[in-house]
C-alpha cells in the first residue's frame, strides 16, 4: 500500500471512528446550574475584593500612623538641633564667636539638618504613595 493510500485509509478510519462516537448524555438543567455557578463565582470574587480592600485600608491606616510618628520625631529632633546650633540667637552674639569655632559649628549642624530635611521629604513621599487616590466609595464596615 502506498503512503497516499495509507493516509486516505487512516483518514477514513479516523473520521468513521469520530462519527461513530456516541454523544454524551445531555446534562440535566445545565443552564440553571451554570447560572447558579456563575452567581456563586461572582459573589466569591466580590467577597475576595472586599477583603483585599479592607486589608489595604488597614495597612494604609498603619502606614499613616507610623508616618505621623516619624514626622513628629523628625520635627522634634530637628528643632532641638536647630535650637542648639544657635540659629535663633542674635547676630551680634554670633559675630562675637571666633571664625574657627563658627565654621566648625556650621559643619557639625549642616549634616543633621540635611538628614532631617531628607527624612521629612521621604516621609511625605511615603504618605503620598501609600494613601493613593481618594476612595469614592463609602467606608466599609
Amino acid at each position: 500500500m502506498t503512503q497516499d493510500a495509507d493516509d486516505i485509509a487512516f483518514e477514513t478510519l479516523l473520521r468513521g471512528a469520530m462519527h461513530a462516537r456516541p454523544q454524551p448524555a445531555a446534562a440535566t438543567n445545565l443552564a440553571h446550574r451554570a447560572i447558579e455557578r456563575a452567581r456563586a463565582q461572582a459573589a466569591a470574587e466580590a467577597k475576595q475584593r472586599l477583603l483585599m480592600l479592607t486589608r489595604l485600608r488597614r495597612r494604609n491606616r498603619f502606614v499613616g500612623l507610623a508616618a505621623s510618628l516619624l514626622i513628629a520625631g523628625v520635627f522634634l529632633i530637628g528643632g532641638q538641633r536647630v535650637y542648639k546650633s544657635g540659629f535663633f540667637t542674635d547676630s551680634s552674639t554670633t559675630s562675637s564667636i571666633s571664625s574657627d569655632s563658627t565654621s566648625s559649628t556650621t559643619s557639625s549642624i549642616a549634616v543633621p539638618l540635611g538628614v532631617a530635611v531628607t527624612a521629612e521629604a521621604l516621609v511625605v513621599a511615603l504618605i503620598l504613595l501609600s494613601a493613593g487616590p481618594p476612595d469614592p466609595r463609602p467606608a466599609f464596615v
Binding site: 483518514e11 462516537r21 448524555a25 446534562a27 445545565l30 451554570a34 455557578r37 456563575a38
Partner: protein, 186 residues
C-alpha cells in the same frame, strides 16, 4: 439545524442582558459541541458535567461583554476550549481515581454495536483523549463535527497553517497507536 443556523436564531440583546430564557436556548444549542469537546479531552461522568457547567458559567458571566466581533457560537466555543483546558489541567493534578464509565445519550443508538472496527474505534477515542488540548480540539471539530480548517482557525484565533499542523501532528500520534493491518482493513 447546522451550528451557523442555530446562531442566527438566538437574539443577542436578551443574551447581553443575561435573560435566563435566552441563555437556556444558547446552552441547549451549544451543549452538544461543548460536551463533545469535554468527551474528546477524556472527561467522563460527573467530571464532564462539571466542566460543561463551568464552561457555561464563564459564558454567562462574559455575556454582557460580547461584542459580536465573531459569531456567537465561535465565541462560546472559544471560551469552552479555554475553560475545558483549565479544568483538564486541574483534573490531571488531582488524578488518581479510576475514570467513571461514559454516560451516553440513551436516545442515540451506538453505531458500534454491529461494527467490526469497534475495538479500533475505542482505541482511537482513548488515544484522542491523550492528545494535548489543541490537538484533541481540532480532531473533535474537524473529524466529528466536520468543521472546515478555516472555521477552526477562526475559533482558535490562529492561522490556518497552524490548524493543519495540529491536525497532521495529531493524526501521526493517533496512527502510531494502531497496527498497519488495522488501518488497511476496509
Amino acid at each position: 439545524l447546522s451550528d451557523r443556523d442555530a446562531e442566527i436564531e438566538i437574539p443577542i440583546e436578551p443574551l447581553r442582558r443575561r435573560d435566563p430564557a435566552a441563555f437556556a436556548r444558547l446552552v441547549e444549542r451549544n451543549q452538544p459541541i461543548v460536551l463533545g469537546l469535554c468527551q474528546s479531552m477524556g472527561m467522563r461522568g460527573a467530571d464532564l458535567d462539571d466542566a460543561a457547567a463551568e464552561v457555561f458559567a464563564n459564558v454567562f458571566r462574559a455575556l454582557p461583554s460580547f461584542q459580536a466581533r465573531s459569531a456567537l457560537g465561535t465565541w462560546v466555543y472559544r471560551i469552552a476550549c479555554r475553560t475545558i483546558a483549565k479544568v483538564r489541567a486541574r483534573n490531571r493534578r488531582g488524578a488518581g481515581a479510576e475514570l467513571p464509565a461514559d454516560q451516553l445519550d440513551p436516545n442515540q443508538p451506538s453505531p458500534l454495536e454491529n461494527s467490526e472496527n469497534a475495538e479500533t474505534f475505542r482505541r482511537l477515542w482513548d488515544a484522542v483523549a491523550r492528545l494535548d488540548d489543541r490537538e484533541a480540539t481540532v480532531i473533535e471539530l474537524y473529524y466529528r463535527r466536520d468543521w472546515s480548517v478555516e472555521r477552526i482557525a477562526q475559533m482558535l484565533e490562529c492561522p490556518k497553517g497552524t490548524v493543519k499542523t495540529l491536525l497532521f501532528r495529531a493524526r501521526e500520534k493517533l496512527r502510531a497507536k494502531l497496527a498497519p493491518q488495522e488501518i488497511a482493513r476496509p
